[in-house]
Amino acid sequence: MTHPIIQVTSVSKAFKEVRAVRELSFNIYPGEFVALLGPNGAGKTTMMEMIEGIQFPDSGVIRIDNSAWKENPARLRSLLGISLQETHFIEKLTVKETLELFASFYHESHIKISEVLHLVGLEEKSSAYTKNLSGGQKQKLALGIALLNKPQIILLDEPTTGLDPAARREVWEILHRLRQERGMTMILTTHYMDEAEFLCERIIIMDKGQILAEGTVDQLLARFNKSEKIEFGTDREIDPAIFPKDNLLKYDYLGIKWELIVNDIVNYLPGLLTEMKQREITLRSLECKKMTLDDLFITLTGRSLNE
């Protein structure tokens, strides 16, 4: 693989009593789309802001395209496109005026506002005051600002938090298109597992300022040895002794339903249903699914990503 475009080496950061980031190290390579996935308070935003040069580590080194922030901040600012978690704009400026204002901060004099408006799908809203934009439109504008200088690296901090599913999907489509058309490098933080899966080839799962696991979705889920999950509820209490032993890895009673981790649902399920039929047990619910990153997170921490 080529030389990393972002190198994070043993980075730590604390705020008073809270150690937000602890000895974190990872590399990001050119053209990669990487997600920092973790629940609230995992240290994702702090890590992101240190990469963005908004905060500085207490210890450790961050190098972007071979430069540290203290060496050449102006160059790094020009390399990066940034979308912060929850940005407000000047309320009585229009979308176009906001983009023009931010464009003036970059040295490139030929930034085409119309191109950016098209890219983020805000052409029809170009004359609207930012105050009157919906949450999704504001997020698109934030993304547009991040793209003004045609950055090599784009850093997005929770770009779809608080958006409805349709708006989230629209933002995803824009990012997906950017990936295909511009070949840029992207890091995004999210606590949505599906967002990380859809947009990023590599996922870094974080909790309490540390990396819990790292890899592609397949690599991460391989930790489960391709295991799958069956969840079901019944009309009465049952004895776990009736569960067929073949292919069964683990079982657990979750208060109102049973959770069975099995090797292969297709092979396992018929045997289970036969046992229940013989004992005249009625199913109240039945759900079969592949293991997800959330399951992985629960396995690693005992908590869900959305907690």
Binding site: I54, R77, L84, E86, H88, K92, L93, L101, S104, F105
Partner: protein, 369 residues
């Protein structure tokens, strides 16, 4: 350099757009100071009859009239029965000196005290058969004026009658005193609220953070904020002055160049204070508190509404070094004392230096994130 000016121009433009697209802001910036000048200018112009309310405690038993009305009538003043039950009044003065009407509102002593507490009267007069006694807070100048008026009207007239003339010449009226102070206060308020509050709000909403995450020139940003405020403040002051000129015939008797320099120095000074005030906090409530803590004492002490010479002697040297006092005094001397550049130069230098130093410190410790 080109890029600096491009940023500066667009940042400045953003401020103006934000300003003129908010009709409420336009009202508070332009219409409110004019309304205030008009109301206070009229209120203290002496055009209307003044009225003083007195709580009248009758302490005589056998006679139907006490000393108060006997004394006043003996000196030739007519006691009038008002429409309100048992309320009497007397009118003093002349066309030449203006009229003052004193209303005597009957009360027992306890309810008279209540009237003082509620501000319905400023003085209690206890009316005996053969004398009166006055009860009032000696620190209350309005009460003291009423006391002096009544003792004067009750005393036996001596042969010399001093004549009283009303001052109506431009330059000697309250509005002439008030207008320069109001413009000075406008400069302070405009800078403190327009710069401090806006910047604190932009920090709290993370807009500043977003802006400095680009290669934005921070000096262009701060310069645009200060310049924008000076331009707005100029129009605000000009409109206020034109109103006073048209309505009260208030004119600038001194040097216009000196006035512009004082105006600029005042703006530089208060812009600096505003930038320092907004340099650290991201909480609007804290910002509110800080701005009030700075502006309120100056508004009260610096002689905007009334002369600071009424304050205790030991306090006056401290009041005189407040930026708003320097600004208001210099403005006033240009407006009504025909001052030129020479007279206001020390003030201009002090305000400019103070503003520059404070801006420099503010920019150094500025929390952009």
């Amino acid at each position: 350099m080109n890029n600096f000016f491009r940023q500066f121009r667009l940042l400045l433009l953003a401020q103006f757009r934000e300003f003129y697209r908010e009709p409420e802001v336009l009202f508070w910036t332009f219409a409110f100071p004019i309304a205030m000048a008009w109301v206070l200018g009229i209120a203290f112009s002496g055009e209307r009859e003044q009225q003083k309310n007195v709580a009248w405690v009758q302490h005589y038993t056998n006679k139907s009239v006490g000393y108060l009305f006997n004394g006043l009538e003996a000196n030739g003043y007519k006691i009038i029965s008002e429409q309100e039950k048992n309320v009497r009044s007397a009118r003093f003065g002349s066309e030449e000196e203006g009229f003052t009407k004193v209303k005597f509102i009957p009360a027992d002593y306890r309810s008279a005290e209540e009237m003082i507490k509620k501000g319905k009267a400023t003085l209690i007069i206890v009316d005996y058969s053969d004398s009166v006694s006055y009860h009032f807070d000696h620190g209350n100048s309005d009460a003291y004026t009423t006391y002096l008026l009544l003792t004067n009207k009750l005393s036996v007239r001596n042969s010399i009658n001093p004549s009283i003339k009303k001052l109506e010449t431009p330059g000697l009226r309250y509005i002439d005193f008030f207008l320069p102070g109001l413009i000075a206060m406008g400069i302070m308020s405009s800078a403190m609220w327009g710069i401090s509050f806006t910047l604190i709000e932009r920090r709290s909403k993370k807009l500043l953070r977003r802006m400095v995450a680009t290669p934005m020139n921070k000096n262009a940003f701060l310069l645009s904020v200060i310049s924008g405020r000076i331009i707005l403040s100029f129009f605000e002051s000009l409109i206020l002055y034109l109103f006073a000129l048209a309505y009260f015939s208030t004119e600038v008797t001194g040097s216009i160049i000196a006035l512009l320099l004082v105006f600029l120095a005042g703006n530089i000074c208060f812009s600096g204070i505003a930038i320092l005030t907004s340099s650290r906090t991201a909480k609007s409530q804290v910002g509110n508190g800080l701005i009030n803590a700075i502006t309120l004492p100056m508004t009260v002490c610096s002689g905007v509404f009334f002369s600071y010479h009424n304050f205790p002697e030991w306090l006056i040297p401290y009041i005189k070094i407040l930026p708003l006092t320097i600004l208001a005094d210099d403005m006033r001397s240009i407006f009504i004392e025909s001052a030129g550049l020479g007279e206001v130069l020390p003030g201009v230098v002090i305000l400019t230096l103070l503003g520059s130093i404070i801006t420099f410190i503010g920019a150094k410790i500025y929390k952009w994130y």
